[in-house]
């Protein structure tokens, strides 16, 4: 665990099956086909969503975002972990096997 988060930095997460994503006027809309639940991500959220490909560890995603945005690592890390936790709770992301 890291800072009270359910997600660990060394873990890899991937997008859940049955989730559709589409860009819509500057936002990314996610649709969970199972029950029709939908969510809108802003630009940064959409970037994290794209990076959650099951290949990268969460720590790598944090590092990539630190490169992209000039923000202290501890802040990026806390935000990414919280975001991933939220999306896991909403059954949009899952831990990648292996």
């Amino acid at each position: 665990m890291s800072g009270g988060s359910d997600t660990v930095l060394a873990e890899r997460v991937r997008r859940e099956e049955g989730i559709l994503a589409q860009e819509a006027h500057g936002q990314t809309v996610l649709l969970r086909l199972e029950d029709g639940g939908y969510y809108a991500l802003d630009e940064v959220g959409a970037m994290i969503w794209e990076l959650c490909d099951g290949q990268r560890a969460v720590a790598e995603i944090v590092a990539l975002l630190c490169e992209e945005f000039d923000v202290p690592e501890r802040i990026v890390q806390a935000d990414v972990l919280e975001f991933i936790d939220d999306l896991r709770r909403e059954r949009l992301l899952v831990l990648a096997a292996g």
């Binding site: 559709l20 006027h25 500057g26 649709l31 029709g36 809108a40």
Partner: protein, 398 residues
């Protein structure tokens, strides 16, 4: 064309001008409320959202209300696109050609952002002799026709398609969220007897995935104009899903903006199909409201004896209207619906008198608000009726 402030803003969203038609700064809450209601009626809330968002000057509550509709529509259209893929893949697997119509075709061709086009169901054209096979194929995906009045749920997939029906009853998906309408034609009985549906197939173009076909730009326009002058002009009081005719103007604007239309070809086929009046009226209304329709095309299609004042009255009475200001189509439509209307719209068995009578009563009860609204404005009712007669007279001349 005189416009209210609310319609001027909607037209700015559909066909912007260098100088906006209206300045909405300083609008009060009721003004925005009316605008949202009208946009909703004409199914233009997503279009209005995309127009206002980059300007950052609409009230936050308005922006937020429109954003909710836009995002919900984006999600619904994603669901529909995913369902459509399953439908056309299944039809293709069964060797049945499929050509998209109406909203699904427009979202795929004319709207760069498909989330801006509201859609209710999926309309798919299949060859007339393959409708039963297509229905059986879709049944395997869970799409079935609702049983008719007095009928038990059917296990057979042969569908009731009368000689005058241009599409089969809607097939509803297992999840009860989506209906698919299988069309064998795009015209209804009595419209354009010279129209050759085979030509629509020949002009069709492959979709990006190559699994289904999409109508040629000229057929997209033709179909929108036919609907514009058919059921959209009258609408139905408090049946929001019928939408308003300004939505059709938006479709025409997007086709013209994003598709390469062969105007000469459109004029030629319109004349050959003897559909000049129907197509002319749709395109005339679009041009009057700012869409770049070539004047030469309109001059070519203009029916003999057409008075532009009649066209403008049509726009004022039947396009720039919503809610209980909507016209009724005709008194006959109100009080003497056809068997087809009762059968398709009200689930009657067209061969059973009692079933038709029950459907008539259901429809009459549902139309009480329409009748009340009509009786509150007898002068408008007269105007609507006169306009309908004048349009019919124009059609009869061509």
């Amino acid at each position: 064309m005189p416009l209210t402030a609310e319609y001027a803003l909607l037209l700015d969203a559909i066909v912007p001008l260098a100088q906006p038609r209206v300045d909405y700064q300083g609008w009060d809450e009721p003004g925005w409320g009316r605008t949202l209601q009208i946009a909703d009626w004409h199914r233009l809330s997503p279009v209005l959202f995309c127009h206002l968002k980059p300007r950052h000057d609409a009230p936050a509550a308005v922006q937020s209300a429109l954003e909710r509709v836009y995002l919900a529509n984006a999600a619904r259209n994603m669901f529909m696109a995913s369902s459509l893929r399953r439908v056309v893949d299944a039809l293709s697997g069964a060797g049945i050609p499929a050509l998209l119509l109406k909203g699904a075709a427009l979202a795929e061709t004319a709207y760069p952002d498909p989330a801006q086009r509201e859609m209710l169901d999926l309309d798919v054209l299949v060859p007339a002799d393959r409708v039963d096979a297509a229905s059986a194929t879709l049944a395997e995906l869970g799409y079935r026709a609702a049983p008719r009045d007095g009928e038990s749920p059917s296990t057979t997939m042969a569908i009731h398609l009368g000689p005058d029906d241009h599409h089969a009853p809607a097939l509803i998906g297992d999840e009860r969220l989506l209906a698919v309408e299988l069309h064998r034609h795009i015209l209804i009985a009595g419209e354009g007897r010279r129209f050759d549906i085979d030509e629509v197939w020949q002009r069709g173009r492959p979709s990006g995935r190559g699994v289904h076909l999409l109508p040629a730009p000229e057929d997209l326009l033709l179909h929108v104009c036919l609907h514009f002058t058919r059921n959209r002009l009258g609408g139905s009081y408090r049946r929001r899903h019928t939408g308003g005719a300004l939505g059709q103007i938006c479709d025409i604007a997007r086709i013209v903006e994003h598709q390469s239309v062969d105007w000469v070809g459109l004029a030629e086929m319109t004349r050959r199909y003897r559909l000049e009046t129907r197509i002319f009226l749709g395109l005339f209304a679009a041009r009057e409201l700012g869409v770049a329709i070539p004047g030469s095309l309109l001059a070519e299609l203009q029916p003999p004896g057409f008075d532009p004042a009649l066209g403008r009255r049509l726009i004022a009475l039947r396009v720039l209207r919503s809610g209980d200001q909507l016209p009724v189509r005709t008194l006959r439509w109100m009080f003497a619906p056809s068997r087809e209307v009762l059968s398709h719209g009200w689930n009657a068995d067209p061969t059973a008198t009692m079933s038709l009578a029950r459907a008539y009563m259901r429809r009459a009860r549902a139309n009480v608000p329409l009748a009340r609204a009509a009786l509150r404005r007898p002068w408008l009712l007269v105007q609507d009726q006169r306009l309908g007669d004048q349009i019919q007279a124009l059609e009869e001349r061509t």
